[in-house]
């Protein structure tokens, strides 16, 4: 390699090495800034006081539960039926203290009644809490899933490899050569594994279970209340898309059912709020195929008579919907290879494919699989 290229490469790698530290540093800076930036004292105080009230750090009667014990302020992995602090903040963002008070003091649901018993906050205190919630609502760090930064691990391993190699060839401080070699092999191996795993997971979302705008539980609806999947997902038999129920459909029941066992009225009220404010509910999409895949629910659920659970898992047992399968092409084709086609009943198949029918009747094959009628061909799904 000629010199300029080597230099450029070195620079490139150097920048790559520095990048994570830069990012970390800048994050730390921003946090520091948030804490000390020159707000007016009054507001800072009120938020701080609100935070103390919310977290139950001020002197309050012992029997009062602190707000935070039910209304989480951080991201949590488990399901909390109670509205999070952020959700409350969002709901009351444009409402007056009086409304906030009436909502807080005159509990709507059973559960809320129990916990909000005997609360008596002054308007001043409520104002503090509200401004604290407001602050939370505008916060950026909230609601992002904390994660181990793979990049740091990766570059740490990189540094380890470099050290091992440097020692192996130049400094030779370690007596047994096997040690740097082992370090090299394990570190490099782990790096490769990280790469491979990362690459395979690109664009796939197995086990993805995001927080939804409404804490809708399929378990309560489909198992406890025995509502059929097709009651809400109406177009599954006729269209590509199974259909996410429109809000009006929810109201079929929820015009009467105004309170949930677990979530009280807070979640169900969101349906009514959507209708009143004429804004649709923005669900977070879980099962998603790439744009170049044309999957039809009608083909699978209606013609192929597949159960919903075969692809979606036991959704009726989930409080929070999770993507069970990885929805990869290999997974699709596995099923196409195994699944038998309704070859005798459906007129589309029964009146054609003469050779396959002959084989079936002669007993050469026991069933016709999707693959046998072209289920592995590109243009069945990609066009």
């Amino acid at each position: 390699m000629s010199k300029p290229y080597r230099l450029t490469c070195a620079l490139f790698i150097f920048i790559l090495l520095l990048a994570p530290f830069q990012i970390l540093a800048s994050e730390a800076d921003s946090i520091a800034k948030d804490d000390h930036s020159g707000h007016f004292d009054y507001f800072l105080n009120s938020e701080k006081r609100g935070e103390r009230l919310f977290k139950g750090l001020t002197r309050t009667p012992v029997e009062w539960q602190s707000c935070v014990s039910c209304h989480n302020i951080d991201y949590i992995d488990t399901l909390n039926w109670n509205p999070s602090a952020k959700a409350i903040a969002g709901t009351f963002a444009n409402k007056s203290i009086a409304e906030f008070r009436s909502a807080l003091m005159s509990p709507l649901g059973k559960k809320m009644e129990e916990s909000h018993q005997n609360y008596s906050f002054s308007d001043e205190e409520l104002g503090y809490i509200k401004s604290y919630l407001q602050d939370l609502n505008s916060g950026v760090l909230y609601d992002t899933k904390p994660k181990v930064n793979n990049l740091i691990v990766f570059f740490f391993l990189g540094a380890l490899i470099t050290l091992a190699l440097v020692d192996l060839f130049f400094t030779k401080k370690i007596k047994y050569k096997i040690i740097p070699v082992l370090i090299f092999v394990f570190a490099f191996g782990y790096q490769i594994q990280m790469l491979a795993e990362g690459a395979m997971a690109l664009g796939r979302k197995q086990n993805y279970a995001p927080i939804q705008p409404i804490k809708f539980s399929h378990k309560i609806h489909a198992t406890d209340n025995k509502i059929d999947c097709r009651y809400c997902h109406t177009t599954v038999d006729e269209s590509k898309s199974a259909g996410i129920p429109h809000v009006n459909l929810c109201l079929n029941c929820h015009v009467i059912v105004r309170e949930g066992t677990n979530s009280g009225k807070f979640e169900i009220n969101k349906i009514h709020a959507a209708i009143e404010s004429n804004t649709p509910v923005e669900w977070v999409r879980i099962h998603q195929l790439p744009d170049h895949v044309f999957f039809s629910h009608a083909q699978h659920a209606n013609v192929g008579k597949r159960d919903c659970q075969e692809c979606h898992g036991l959704v009726e047992e989930m409080h929070v919907v999770k993507q069970v399968e990885d929805l990869s092409m290999g997974w699709c084709l596995d099923c196409h290879d195994k699944t038998a086609v309704d070859f005798r009943e459906n007129g589309y198949y029964s009146e054609s494919f003469k050779k396959l029918h002959e084989k079936l009747t002669s007993g050469a094959i026991d069933s016709v699989r999707v693959t046998d009628v072209g289920g592995r061909e590109c243009a069945r799904c990609h066009y």
């Binding site: 390699m1 990362g198 259909g243 129920p245 459909l249």
Partner: protein, 987 residues
Amino acid sequence: MNKYWKSLTELKNGENSVPDQAMPKGNLEQILDIFDKNENASKSNRRDFLKLCGFSLAISTVVASCENSVQKAIPYLIKPEEVTPGKANYYASSFAKGNDYCSILIKTREGRPIKIEGNDLSGVTHGGTSSRVQASVLDLYDTSRYKHPKKGNQKLAWEELDETVKKELNRLKNANEQFVLLTSSIYSPSTISVIQKFIAEYPNVKWVQYDSQSALALIQANEMCFGKAGVAEYRFDYADMIVSFDADFLGTWLMPVEHIRQYTKKRKLCNGNISMSHHIQIESRLSLTGSNADKRIPVKPSEQKLLIVQLYNEILKLAGKEIYSVPASNDNMKQIAKDLWSYKEKSLVVSGSKDTSVQVIVNAINFELENYGSTLRVDKQLHTFKANDSDMDQLLKDMKSGKLKGIISYGVNPVFDYQQGKEFSDALKKIDFSLAMDEVPNETTALMSLLAPDNHFLESWNDFEPKTNRYSLMQPGIRPLFDTRQFQSSLLSWMGEDSNYLNFIKNHWEKNMYPMQTAYPNFTTFWNHTLQQGVFEPGVKSVFDTKFSLANMNSFVNQLAKQADNKGIELQLYESIAIGDGKMANNPWLQEMPDPVTKICWDNYLCVSPKQAEEMMLETGDVVELNSQVKLPVYVLPGQAYNTVAVATGYGRQVCGVVGKNVGINVNFLLPSNDDFTGDVKLVKTGEIYNLAMTQTHHSMEGRAIVREAGLEEYKKNPSAGNESHHAYENASIYEKPKFPNHHWGLVVDLNSCVGCGACSIACQSENNVPVVGKKEVIRAHEMSWIRIDRYFSGDEFNPDVSFQPVMCQHCDNAPCENVCPVAATNHSSEGLNQMAYNRCIGTRYCGNNCPYKVRRFNWFDYTKADSIPNNLHDVAEMTIDLKRMVLNPDVTIRAKGVIEKCSLCVQRIQEGKLNAKIEGRKVKDGEIKTACQQACPSGAIIFGDLNDKESKLVKETSSKRNYHLLEEIHTLPSVSYLTKIRNKKA
């Protein structure tokens, strides 16, 4: 066998001429030129560098826990009952723009119009469409559309505008000042009623209808001859012999969609029919109609009038009547007259002339041939042309003199397309109250002080009567995208009436159309049924006693016979097939559609005859100055009559969106709109060279006879005439012949029916999200059309025979593209489709290189924003803007940069058709699945079907003796086949 040549250079230099050019550099090479400073040594370095870059990038993206972005799934708040997400709805409606009319179906997905299809139920267009109809859906999402009412540049609310307009209207009414409502031809019964009411409310309003290409001569001639003004109904399907004097009836004259169907219906050689009409075209420019004619006689425009008179004389002679004293006719005319006489009652003579006396003589000829009542009907009229040119001239006079105090314009652009456009614009500026009601900005609306923008036709209600007693409805496919209001609603509200135009139409129909029928017991069922069908065609029997009465025939004859003096080089203006009068110039699909004959897109140019070009040392691309007025690039058009030149109007728009702005040159001012031609044109070669974007020079068939043809007489004797040579080997491939256990999809194109209009290619573009690449890319041979129409000339360079051949992927069963793909991105399905998996394609372009039909297209750039890498974008037509992307078909992948694409035989429609059959548990019915090109074709030249279904129409056609495959000798075994072209030439 005919020798075919694709361009004049080829004809002259022989087949082996290779343009002397350096090997063009690829895209990547151009970019990487910056690295090539260090000569040889640098080559590997550059690669290493890139490898390292790529590796580091891969690491950083993969490891930096590349999270999937959060996608939202937003259902309806309240779902409309009729909408099923993922399934299309179709609404019957009508397309009407200026003089163009078509009965259509709007295909909507989730309430969004994405495609226009023809309405089979219409008795006018019979399910046919044109390229402009197909492209009109893109105009809905035009970014240049007016988005709200305006005063100057200031945004207004509709209430404010209404108040201002009402005040002005009342002021002018009270002062009894002259006021004009300027519209294009209006053939909507309800709109006419609205306008009449408007005039009753404001009696000082004068209604002027203006067409850039009026049919005044026809209207007046019919009034003179039969006492009934209007354009007659032409029935080309009843005519055994057609003689056309410069009437491009398959391209732009009157109602091409209807004419193409009639014309090809008469010439279809199927179901045992072995007769065809004989078509003679006498014209100067090789038009689309001329290129389909059995015999074409190139003459100068100035000579035509005499020829028509001579023909009249000859016919009179044959009828045994008194003849006029005109110069003796040549043998050609005598023969034509004799033939016409032998096809009495079943012939048709038409002329595209704008001279009333010519049309009178043509009427007289048709009358002598007793064609009235069979191929011509005066009692049934075409209503799409109503303008009277003299009204417009009077209007200009009044404007100049200051008599006119106010003007409202709707659907017209006289500043651009009126010959005195310049004067019109100067006069328009002086008028205090000017109001435009168009949906998109144009040269005229730009000068108007007030603006009340109309809806797009896909957002509007309306009704039409394009022909006598053929009614149709227009219904919206979407709510207005912007704050616009329909023209009719605006007029109604300014009259102080209920501005709901739908109610107005309903009332009008209840009063006028409902009594015409007896099938429906009440109006609601009648209305609902009609709305669902889109058309209402009551079988009203009108009795019209066609009596030809004209006293001073002699004066017309003498007048025409006199004018036959030679006038040097003569210039004709014509409307191009794609752009028309320029109203749709901002439509990139139309701009990129090559002209059927010249195969040039994104420009207008001067058509020059080969002989003239030789004399003046001109070649295609040379720039000439015409009368020291305009500079135009030259196209040497075989078949153009010597000493004549022609240029298309509709180009050179100045005020329109980014797509059509400054494309080509405006030539409308060169010729009064009621003249056929202008003589003594001076051409001066400037020495400049201009790059024309031609699509055909790239697709050489290398001298092989791809189009097979025969004469009708030969065909009658031997049905496989011209189609004798067939590839004999059953299986010449080393691969096993593929088996098709269920379907074997195929397509047949009847070359005898295809007139080359290009509706199929735009339909394909719309259906399959085929990108627009722009002029520069077309010049680099990067156009993307999945179905192209090849045009071949054969025979005499001065009057060639023309053949059109639509070529799409042939879906070969032994496909050369499939076995060269290193990643098996293209392979064969068990249904006979040559599949293309874009997500697997790595862009080696081996397949494109190995395809003998050159139908594979490569995405050199990202034209439609398929991915999020901004540097890949190449967007000349705003197709990456969200608004315009709304037109994309959600059932077809948007292709990214670096992949090959090609015709899929509309596999999304096949899959949909199969799924419907499976849901209902039955076999796929023949004709149930139609490809987009087949659906759009006005002549029914394309038939899609299952080759395994022996009862299908496709198999019936392919088992014909006329059936052949392209390049059979290379044993590709295509699923697409062609039927030979038969010409009805008379010895």
